[in-house]
């Protein structure tokens, strides 16, 4: 029986590899036919295109590698900010869905329902073309300035493109995180609520100190997938003119004609990024489980 199963698995693995082999074979034959080998020498050549916003100094005379790095940093910037804000928003909305306050519950419920039904690309286009580009000149005090040319916030200059992507990703992912948090909280036995209430703790403190820590083991694994989704969804940024890694790769590929190398780099960059995220989350998950086990 056991050998049987092993054989079946081997056959499946073999088929999968055959498919992979076929694809690689196709690739090599096609590259050979068009006279292109794989090569990465072009990375050292000047990019020749400007970028709207960069985290480090960049000029069009810099190399493609540096331009791609700028794109990667831009991606990283919006992803990290998105992770933090989406988590905050998600936890707030998720907790609000379990709130005793009826209005709060309704608000959070409609937020989740509305956002989950609409495709992210549409939401991004909405945030960009309707919300941010529709901004009139609004010098709200000296510290905050809003206009459709950019947003100045306490000395921080944010482009409308960045704001649109960040808002879109945060609001979209926040809705999914809210559901995960709600599910996690519901998984905590009702007795725990009754226990902290009988001790005289107020709702907020009880939620933070008693319920949420116990909900974490149910929340964290699902949260990881949402974080990875957020990172991957950030490539939609090009639709609203944000110079993320995908947008820069896109230009690079057209100018150099190195589509396969360009996509390989893109794949590797996202693999690296997502491995970092899932690695970090796995460590966090382990720590939480360990602490929980010790406290029992």
């Amino acid at each position: 029986m056991r050998r049987h199963r092993l054989l079946l698995q081997l056959v499946l693995a073999g088929l999968l590899l055959a498919l992979l082999g076929l694809l690689i074979n196709n690739l090599t034959v096609n590259l050979f036919r068009t006279g292109l080998g794989l090569g990465f020498g072009w990375l050292a050549r000047p990019a020749g295109f400007a970028l709207a916003e960069t985290a480090l100094p960049y000029a069009p005379s810099d190399t493609y590698l540096w331009a791609l790095t700028m794109g990667w940093l831009n991606s990283l910037k919006v992803i990290l900010a998105g992770l933090v804000l989406a988590t905050l928003l998600g936890i707030t909305a998720g907790a609000a869905r379990n709130s005793a306050n009826r209005l709060l519950r309704c608000l959070a419920g409609s937020y989740v329902a509305l956002i989950r039904q609409v495709p992210l690309l549409l939401q991004l286009l909405f945030w960009y073309f309707v919300a941010f580009l529709g901004l009139p000149e609004l010098p709200v005090g000296g510290l905050i300035q809003l206009s459709n040319q950019g947003i100045h916030l306490l000395g921080l200059n944010l482009s409308v493109e960045f704001c649109a992507v960040l808002t879109g990703l945060t609001v979209f992912t926040g809705a999914s995180i809210a559901e995960i948090v709600r599910g996690g909280i519901n998984a905590v036995p009702r007795g725990q609520w009754e226990a902290f209430r009988s001790l005289g703790l107020d709702e907020g403190l009880g939620l933070r100190r008693i319920v949420l820590p116990q909900a974490l083991p149910a929340i964290l694994p699902a949260l990881t997938s949402q974080y990875l989704n957020l990172a991957k969804n950030s490539t939609l940024a090009i639709a609203v003119g944000y110079a993320d890694l995908y947008a820069v790769s896109d230009t690079t590929i057209t100018q150099t004609g190195r589509a396969i190398e360009g996509f390989l780099l893109l794949l590797l960059s996202f693999l690296l990024l997502n491995l970092l995220i899932s690695g970090g989350m796995a460590a966090l998950n382990g720590a939480v489980l360990g602490r929980l086990r010790r406290s029992r």
């Binding site: 036919r33 409308v160 230009t251």
Partner: protein
């Protein structure tokens, strides 16, 4: 147990991989895409689908435009039926991958002929002759008062990603030392959206596309196209590189459309001209061109009457131009450099001998 099964798995992987590595067949390299098209009985044509006058989905649900008519002329010449075309709408970054992967046979999508795209070390595609001489321009709101590039210093300019427009923009502005902020979108519709919403003080694209986009604005007259030309953009159909037979066939179908205009052979008078050629053995050049005297088509791997088929389907080059870009079309673009050489333009066909 687990370890040994894993070792077995790796062995199996190696075995299967080597099996497939061995059967890399390069026999197909010598065969032409043209044979595949004929065998399939259908031409897969990559178009934009979003540029009025060039390729645009009409209200009736069919693609129309100059680029589309090129596809139709090709299908007529190759297969004898202009309707045997399957259109694939492609974005700018997708197009060369689609061509290289074999998803399409012919790319007829506002593609600028450049060295990097032509060369084997670049995109390695094979270009047919230019079907539209375009040039990159900038459009600005008329009330901005901008008339020269210098006045755009430090301004945001909306540009489509994955096109030569982005590189040209930088080349020109960098050489003149004018700083600017590019706002890059993937799609022309988004470029237009960003520009109309006031995110950018100017929008850049080929002048033909600017004219086409402006025709859809609420107030077309409130926007002016600047005199400065940032580039020459000879737009040409393309096929996958390394396929001389297919390049030749597409090349000479386009030359046939130009030659037909030079000879004044139109869709309407084609049959009369054909009968005249058949009746008059002294008309050697005309008889060869129309395939009455066989021989030219065969050299290209096409039917001898390929010229007749193409003209019957779309008319000559001037007719195609007038239909989609002429003064009475919604996207009127003065013919300018696209006139025949004998009229002062750049269009000319080598001899059909």
């Amino acid at each position: 147990m687990i370890r040994s099964s894993r070792r077995l798995l790796i062995g199996a992987i190696a075995a299967v991989a080597s099996l497939f590595g061995g059967c890399a067949s390069l026999d197909e390299v010598s065969s032409s895409r043209l044979d595949l098209v004929k065998q399939r009985g259908e031409l897969l044509c990559g178009v934009s689908g979003k540029i009025p006058g060039f390729s645009f989905l009409s209200a009736e649900g069919a693609y129309t435009g100059l680029d589309v008519d090129i596809c139709r002329a090709m299908a007529a010449a190759f297969l004898g039926d202009a309707d045997k075309v399957q259109y694939r709408p492609l974005t700018a970054p997708e197009r060369f991958t689609a061509l290289r992967s074999g998803e399409i046979d012919l790319l007829s999508r506002n593609t600028t002929h450049t060295l990097s795209r032509d060369a084997v070390g670049g995109n390695g595609v094979g270009f047919a002759p230019v079907v539209f001489h375009d040039g990159q321009g900038l459009i600005v709101p008329a009330d901005s008062g901008v008339t020269t590039l210098d006045e755009l210093s430090g301004k945001a300019i909306c540009v489509g990603s994955g096109t030569t427009t982005e590189q040209n923009l930088n080349d020109v502005f960098a050489s003149k030392g004018i700083p600017y902020t590019p706002i890059k979108y993937q799609d022309l519709n988004q470029v237009v959206g960003g520009y109309l919403q006031g995110r950018c003080q100017a929008m850049t694209s080929d002048r033909s596309q600017l004219a086409a986009a402006r025709s859809g604005f609420d107030e077309p007259n409130a926007h002016v196209i600047l005199e400065d030309r940032l580039s020459k953009e000879p737009l040409a159909p393309a096929v996958a590189g390394g396929d001389q037979r297919f390049v030749d066939a597409t090349t000479w179908v386009i030359y046939a459309l130009i030659e037909a205009e030079e000879r004044g052979i139109t869709q309407a008078n084609l049959d009369r001209q054909l009968r005249a050629a058949e009746a008059d053995p002294t008309q050697g050049a005309l008889r060869r061109f129309l395939g009455v005297d066989a021989g030219l088509g065969r050299k290209l791997g096409l039917p001898d009457d390929f010229v007749v088929q193409a003209i019957r389907a779309t008319g000559h080059y001037g007719e195609i131009y007038d239909r989609h870009l002429g003064p009475r079309s919604p996207v009127a673009i003065p013919r300018g450099a696209n006139r025949l050489a004998e009229d002062g333009g750049l269009m000319i066909a080598p001899p059909f001998t």
